[in-house]
């Protein structure tokens, strides 16, 4: 696409960030609150089976085109690490 130039971003930046979140909510019907509740529930289930560090867990919404994706990045504490640590 043609370049409209890279302006020094101000209120447009804010508009874009706010719209990103609003559109995730609109498309999925999930609020930020519901998203964090779900995250906590997921963590509870997972930590029943494997050891994880809740601080390192990243669960977020992303999109591929207009397709919404729930992405979870959950580093596991390996038994190997546990021995060393």
């Amino acid at each position: 696409m043609a370049a409209w130039g890279k302006p020094n971003r101000q209120s447009a930046d804010e508009a874009k960030e706010r719209l990103k979140l609003v559109l995730i909510h609109d498309r999925t019907d999930l609020s930020q609150d519901e998203l964090s509740t779900m995250k906590n529930e997921l963590l509870a289930v997972i930590s029943r089976h494997v050891e994880i560090d809740p601080e390192l867990v990243k669960i977020s919404m992303s999109h591929d085109g207009r397709e919404q994706k729930l992405t979870a990045d959950i580093p596991l504490k390996t038994s190997h690490r546990r021995k060393i640590g």
Binding site: W4, P7, Q10, S11, A12, A15, D26, R66
Partner: protein
């Protein structure tokens, strides 16, 4: 001939659907196609005045649907362009006077006679929206580069997908290059990234649109108008041509360059 039915819709009102319908119809007719535009905004008819054809209305879309006239009789021919016609909306009825299947029937009857049928939608996601998308082959969503218009466009794009009429294509109207450059308006790239659909047109914010609407002479009729050219480019892209998106010039920027020249001279 087998017409292509193009529906212009938006979600948020007032973003430029009627303006786009009129100019796109003019641009396609200028390219030599036979074009009928249909005002789908029953009860709030407007396309007639934007095209400057308001004094010639005898029958309207509801008359066709209720069998008071034949389609031909409700088609007003534009005197400026050989092959441009308008089917006006009824002004004194409401949206329930027309159903999605009525729209499909009217368009199917026209399909063999014209090249393009361009349908202007009412704002919103109610009956009027369903009527106008029902017969569509291609749906163009108009938005402005601002938060509420983009949000509503996203909603409409989702509905179009759900109706299996997608993917819709995007027209960003009323882009102000000065504000964009200052970082105070979403850029066309931002809007495309947020909505994640194909862009088919970028139209500058231009006072000549208001002036030309006052006169009932769409800007696309003016060969010197840059905004008219932006609409003509949409017509070309609809025909499958690859046309680069034009660089919108920033008037403020131009003036500051001129001022800069004077300063240089004075120093």
């Amino acid at each position: 001939m087998a017409a292509i039915v193009v529906t212009i819709t938006s979600g948020k009102g007032g973003v430029g659907k009627t303006t786009t319908t009129a100019n796109l119809a003019v641009a396609l007719a200028e390219d030599g196609f036979k074009v009928v535009c249909i005002d789908g905004d029953i009860g709030l008819r407007n396309l007639d005045v934007v095209l400057g054809l308001e004094n010639r209305i005898v029958y309207d879309l509801v008359d066709i649907v209720e069998n008071r006239c034949r389609i031909r009789q409700a088609m007003i021919r534009d005197k400026r362009l050989e092959e441009l016609y308008l089917i006006p909306a009824a002004q004194t009825r409401d949206k329930s006077a027309v159903s999605p299947s009525d729209m499909i029937r009217v368009c199917d009857e026209l399909r063999s006679e014209v090249d393009y049928i361009i349908i202007d939608s009412p704002a919103g996601i109610e009956r009027g929206f369903r009527n106008t998308i029902a017969p569509a082959d291609i749906i163009l969503v108009v938005t402005n580069p601002e938060v509420s218009a983009v949000r509503d466009a996203d909603r409409i794009i989702g509905l179009v997908e759900a109706e299996e009429k997608g993917p819709a294509k995007l027209i960003i109207n009323r882009v102000n290059p000065g504000l964009t450059k200052r970082g105070d308006m979403l850029t066309p790239e931002d809007v495309v990234e947020l909505l994640a659909i194909e862009l088919i047109g970028v139209i500058p914010d231009d006072e000549n649109v208001v002036i030309s609407t006052n006169r009932g002479q769409p800007v696309a009729l003016d060969p010197k108008s840059k905004t008219g050219q932006a609409f003509k480019n949409i017509a070309k892209r609809l025909q499958g041509q690859t046309v680069p998106f034009m660089q919108l010039e920033d008037k403020g920027d131009f003036m500051s360059k001129v001022a800069g020249l004077f300063k240089q001279g004075g120093d």
